[in-house]
Subunit: 326 residues, 2 copies
């Protein structure tokens, strides 16, 4: 079997390159969720930071290395959290950041990228077209293209969450991780399997965007047709082979959840934990809701990975309506 690309010593060395604001995030039990879920649930909260997702752990690492190496500019394709995080990390280090995004991306996310002074280039097409355009720009201008999950820094940045979880007391039985491209799951999974091997690593993906889960189950890349999920943060259809290889080494399970469970998870996190999150951050609670027996009486950690949610869409999902601002 192939060795993983990830390296725990390098992950430890990454911590000082990441602004402390993004590290040592809260990990806390939510006792009010327990009666509704039948198990003890602790939240690892990755949204209490200026970009409201865990992605800055990776972009801080990328931008630090680039700035140390004398780079001036960086580009990525993203319609969401990666673009916003790279814009933040690059700006603080004097890097010119360009984000290429589909014109159809949520306006709220595009606005936040612009507000962080990144160049935003819109393409008339899907993420794959944005990625091709970003790659072409990188090649033409001779600048770094940041590719989520493929670039090991994005996985190792996310893996610093694993260091924090592995050091946590009291310990827990399982950790639920949103699965998209795989940076978060491979990163956190790698560290846990090395430092806390008794913890079950469970990846969760929407039924409407199941490519990586199906690939994990078949142990080879499976691509899918168009995704159908509100969890835009994890909606991919073309798993990256080397990331799948890394995931195969560390995930104990990968499960698929229905859209209505994701919405129920959003609702529970709002009503019983006071957290407004994006759909991908509710995947863990959705997984518990779909298989209560599996988790009954156990202590489960769910990583609340992002909160960049369009409030109008959020209002619709949770049933209707926090009314719009006056």
């Amino acid at each position: 079997m192939r060795e993983t690309r990830l390296d725990t010593a390098r992950i430890r060395a990454a911590r000082p390159m990441i602004d402390p604001m993004f590290l040592d995030t809260p990990l806390f039990p939510c006792p009010a969720l327990e009666p509704h879920l039948g198990c003890a649930v602790s939240v690892k909260l990755e949204t209490a930071n200026p970009v409201r997702s865990f992605k800055a752990r990776g972009t801080e690492l990328v931008a630090s290395l680039l700035a140390d190496g004398g780079a001036r500019a960086v580009v990525c394709a993203s319609a969401g959290n990666l673009g916003q995080a790279l814009a933040w990390s690059g700006r603080r280090r004097g890097l010119d950041v360009t984000v290429v995004a589909p014109r159809s991306a949520p306006a709220a996310k595009l606005d936040r990228i612009r507000a962080l002074d990144a160049g935003l280039e819109l393409v008339d097409g899907d993420f794959d077209l944005a990625r091709a355009r970003a790659a072409a720009m990188a090649g033409h201008d001779g600048i770094r293209l940041v590719e989520d999950s493929l670039d090991v820094e994005t996985c190792e940045g996310a893996a610093t969450i694993g260091l924090e979880l592995a050091g946590a007391v009291p310990s827990y039985d399982a950790v639920l991780i949103a699965l998209g491209g795989g940076a978060l799951a491979t990163g956190v999974g790698h560290v846990l399997k090395e430092l806390a091997p008794g913890v079950e690593v469970i990846c969760v993906q929407p039924l409407g965007a199941p490519a990586m889960t199906r690939s994990w189950r078949r142990r080879r890349v499976v691509t899918t047709g168009p995704t159908r999920t509100i969890a835009d943060g994890v909606a991919g259809r073309r798993p990256i082979p080397v990331v799948l290889d890394d995931l195969l080494l560390v995930a104990d399970d990968a499960v698929l959840v229905r859209e209505e469970s994701i919405v129920a998870g959003l609702r529970m996190l709002l009503d019983h934990a006071g957290l407004v999150v994006e759909p991908s951050a509710a995947l863990g609670v959705a997984a518990i809701l779909e298989d209560r027996e599996r988790f009954a009486g156990r202590h489960v950690v769910t990583i609340v990975c992002g909160a960049n949610v369009d409030m109008d869409a959020y209002r619709r999902w949770i049933g209707a309506p926090i009314p719009p601002p006056p």
Copy 2:
């Protein structure tokens, strides 16, 4: 002038007595709030913990000292955050906790106190009657009565927030602190005035519960009639003289805000920071909204001190309606 009751060396020594889960809470800029408020706003988030308020910093200290001293039981009067925090801190240290509360207190808060295994005794009357009943129980049973703001541990526990703010980089110009009984304001204010004297310490109270602010302005205790505010966490009408004395030493200003500004603050924290909070936690944003000129272009920290909010009431306040759970 009288010396303060608070002691920075003792506050530093308090940190190891507090579960790390309640310490080193997130402090992060919310760039999405900036265009709406005309100033840079950072949030010190005290709600990402199992009791969803800053009060556990104080109750951890109280309960540690009690347990170390061989105590078996403790009682307090509270309809809200103090009772919940003391229930949490006491349970983890094997203390019997009794909370005396008015029967009219929000059901959600009483439920949370019960769920944490505290004895809950309800009285038919207001907080003053609950306090008298708690004092009588303490006297009769020979156990410790915890009194918020009067007991210096509650102030010095809260003051550990000040240590974290004073150590924060980059620095900021002003900190906005919800003012109720005064534990939070005197605690944080004391440390900031000692360690970061250039930071303006601004207390914020609702116009409908102005007793401490009026007392601060007149430099003597002023009591008021019944309070009228949704910010139940800061609704007191009888300031404690020694706490006022401490506050007079450290507050640069105390301002009063209207109920509609508190609601607007709740709304902004929801829409632009993704935070569901209780009204007292929105007082800082309310103060900015009422005096934009004062804060224009400055960097302001607001302490988001609690999120124990009845969701039905919250839905009403913010305009109507996240619909109730199915």
